[in-house]
Structure formats: structure tokens, C-alpha cells
């Protein structure tokens, strides 16, 4: 097979681009989690905020990724380097599943459990850390899983603005009309997505509360 020969011959570059890809996805998912989980908790506790926040995250999701990269290009500091832009765009896309699942997870906690907890004198903080988050954790993780899988796919497009990652091979292959070059980017990306899906899925299962 041509693909495997190509990958073998260019293994150093495959590894480098895979690492770049992981860097883009990892950092953006981290940012999205740091923003999205607290935001999801906040809207679960303040129902009035839930519509506007979820609607905004939804709208971001509907912007075509190439267009979003274009929109962000004129931003100061961020526009200077393609990887910064890519990370920002990927963060924005990852927000929706994370916010929505955190919200759903927290809202899904049995009201009887919450009432008992409050009645026994748990503070809001104790309620959050000892009851709500542990009971919502598997739902939150499944949101994170979706976010990661989406990001791995989307990050290939980041190569269009020169941010690197496995998309490089895909765009190069497209230009060269060479399927084996396209696949040299697509196959590792698919493997990344599948293993992330599997890995986080395992974690999710282990943390699922009885």
C-alpha cells in the first residue's frame, strides 16, 4: 500500500504533525473545560442565564469553521500566530458540548437528594463538591469526550491557516491529488479520535456513580 509506504518514509513528519495536532486539541479542550464547566454549573444554578448562554454557544457552533478562522484573523496578538488562532477557534467550538453536558448533569441530580442534602445543612460549596459534581461527573465527561472528538476532526482544518497539525498532509494531498498523502493525515487523525473516544469513555464508565 502506498499510504503505509508514504507514512513510513515520512514518519518523523507524521509524528511531528501528530504532536502538533495533539497540542492544538489538548490546549483548546483544556481552555474550553476551564471556561465551560464553571459556566455550565452557573447556568444550572441560575435558570435565567441558561437560555442566553446556551444560545450563544449554539450560534458559535453554527459558524462554518473556515469562516471562523477568517473572522478571527484580524485580532491583535492572536492573529500574529496561526496556532493561537486555531486554539481560540477550537476552544469556542468545544464550549457547547461541555457547557450543555455540565448543565444537564447538574440539573439531572435527583431533587430528593438535593433537598435532603440542604435539609441536613450542607453549604452550597459542600453541596456542589460532595453531591452535585460527583453525581454529574459521568455526564460532564461524556460532553468532554464529544468536544475532544469534534476538535480532533476540526483541527485538521487549522492547517488551512497554517496552524500545522495533521491537516497539513490532507491539504497537501488535496493539492497534489494524491490520496495516500491525504490518508497519511486522515488515518492518524482518525486513530487519535477513536483512542480519545475510547479512553475518556473508559474513565467515564469508571467514574459513573451507581
Amino acid at each position: 500500500m502506498n499510504v503505509f509506504r508514504f507514512i513510513l518514509q515520512n514518519r518523523a513528519q507524521v509524528v511531528e504533525l501528530t504532536l502538533e495536532h495533539l497540542w492544538l486539541v489538548g490546549l483548546s479542550t483544556l481552555f474550553a473545560a476551564v471556561i465551560g464547566i464553571p459556566l455550565g454549573i452557573a447556568i444550572a444554578h441560575r435558570p435565567r442565564l441558561n437560555k442566553p448562554v446556551l444560545a450563544s454557544a449554539n450560534i458559535i457552533q453554527t459558524i462554518p469553521s473556515l469562516a471562523l478562522f477568517g473572522f478571527l484573523l484580524p485580532l491583535p496578538w492572536l492573529g500574529e500566530r496561526a496556532d493561537r488562532l486555531a486554539i481560540l477557534a477550537l476552544t469556542l467550538y468545544a464550549l457547547l458540548p461541555i457547557i450543555r453536558n455540565t448543565y444537564t448533569g447538574i440539573r439531572g441530580v435527583d431533587p430528593a437528594v438535593l433537598e435532603a442534602a440542604r435539609g441536613m445543612g450542607l453549604t452550597d460549596k459542600q453541596l456542589l463538591y460532595q453531591v452535585e459534581l460527583p453525581l454529574a461527573v459521568s455526564v460532564i465527561l461524556s460532553g468532554l469526550r464529544v468536544a475532544i472528538v469534534i476538535s480532533i476532526g476540526l483541527a485538521t482544518i487549522a492547517a488551512a491557516i497554517g496552524a500545522g497539525g495533521l491537516g497539513e498532509f490532507i491539504f497537501r494531498g488535496l493539492a497534489m491529488v494524491d490520496n495516500s498523502v491525504i490518508l497519511a493525515g486522515a488515518i492518524p487523525a482518525a486513530i487519535l479520535a477513536l483512542s480519545a473516544d475510547f479512553g475518556v469513555g473508559l474513565l467515564e464508565k469508571r467514574l459513573r456513580t451507581r
Binding site: A112, A117, R118, G119, G121, Q130, L135, T209, R210
Partner: protein
Amino acid sequence: MPPDAPSVAIEFAAIEFRDVSYGVAGTQVLSGFNLEVQRGETLVLLGRSGSGKTTALKLVNRLISPTSGEVRVNGVPNTDIDVIRLRRGIGYVIQDAGLFPHFTVERNIGLVPRIEGWPEERIRERVQEMMRIVSMPAEMATRYPHQLSGGQRQRVGVARALAADPNILLMDEPFGALDPLTRDELQREFLSLQKRLHKTVIFVTHDLREALRLGSRIALMESGQLVTVLAPAEFLRCSDPCAKAYLRAFGGDHEESMHRGAL
């Protein structure tokens, strides 16, 4: 407080509702509610669904706040007490027990002692003691709520409420979802427990038989108002139409069982 404190001290009711009203979204759930609960008694709030009994209960530990009037706990308006302190000093048991599904029996029971910062050793002893009190076999300690029967869950709920040794216990239809045999068993155990512990208990139920059996007094409620407060024996003779309606609704069985007893 020593039990034989000088009697010059004015005796406060353990819980007192003073002209309490509670409304939500234009609906009056509770109006002009006045009631004193004496220390060590089991006061049963009896009434149909929507009569305001659960509302009255939740006003005590401030899960809700009255629109007007006040609730006093040990003579002090409960709004003067820090809400977390207030709640930790009041045991609370609800119908589905509300056990934490991610905690073992042990951790569920030890929750309030733990957040109160008791040393681990003392929490362990207390949990074991509580499990004995509610007749739960010690090997159940490491089980999760979903591995228990309804009756066992409710026992754990009671044990959890008693763990930090509160003087007051609020029970919201705790045995409502149990099968008749288990309910009977738990009612019996509740009586013997109460004989030893003498907690001040407010017990919400819509079951007349349960009220007659467990209550030292029965407060009958109807559409957000207190109809009357009577001892169980008085309740059976009460001429109030509302009490009569209750007796009628349960009367069939009641008389029947009396006949059976006589034969």
C-alpha cells in the same frame, strides 16, 4: 443543658409557629398558622395532599421562608440562627430517604458528623451505634443505597438524621412509600426508638392510622389552615366535619379490624 435546670427558666416550646403564612405565585399555601410543639412529643401533621403540611415542615429548617409570621425554635426566631447551624441541629427525613447514591451506607450516616469535623474514630463508632439503633446489620455498612430494599433505605435515612444527635426531627411521610408490612415494622421501631430518645418530632402523614399510632398529638390540616390539634383518643371522638371525613375514609377498615379483634 441539664435536664433538672432551675425551673425559673421560662419553658419554651421546642418549635412554635406564630401566625405563619406562606404563599407562592399568588397561591396561599399556608395561612394564619399557629402551633406549638412541645419538647419530646411526636406531633403529627395530618392532612390531604396540598393541605400545607410539608410546607409547614420546611419552614422549620428554613428550606422555605414564610411570607409573614415567624417560626421559633427553642424560643428563638429561626431567622436569628445561622441557617447551616439551624439545619445541622435538626434531623430531616423524607419519603424517598434522599440518600446519596454515590455514598455507602456508612458515609451516608456519617455525613453530618463528618462535615461537622468530628474525628474519624468517633464518626465510625457513631455510625455503628446508629446502625444498631435502626436495626441494620453491620455488614450493610459498605453497601450502596441501590443495593438496599426500600425499608432498609428508610432506616438509613433515619439513622443519618439522628447521627449528629439533633433534638428535633422532621419527618416528611418517611414510611409513605413502603409496603404495609415493612411500614408496620418501621412504625413499631419508631415508637420504641422514640420511647428511649425523646426527640421533638414533627411527623407529616396523610395516613390516619399512622397518625393515631405514632402521634402524641395530631394537628389536622385542611387547605393551608390548621383545623384542630387533638390527642389521638380525642381525635376518634371529634365532631369536626373534617376529622369525621377522615374517620369515614379510614373508618371501614378501622371498625372492621375492631370487630375482628372482638370476635
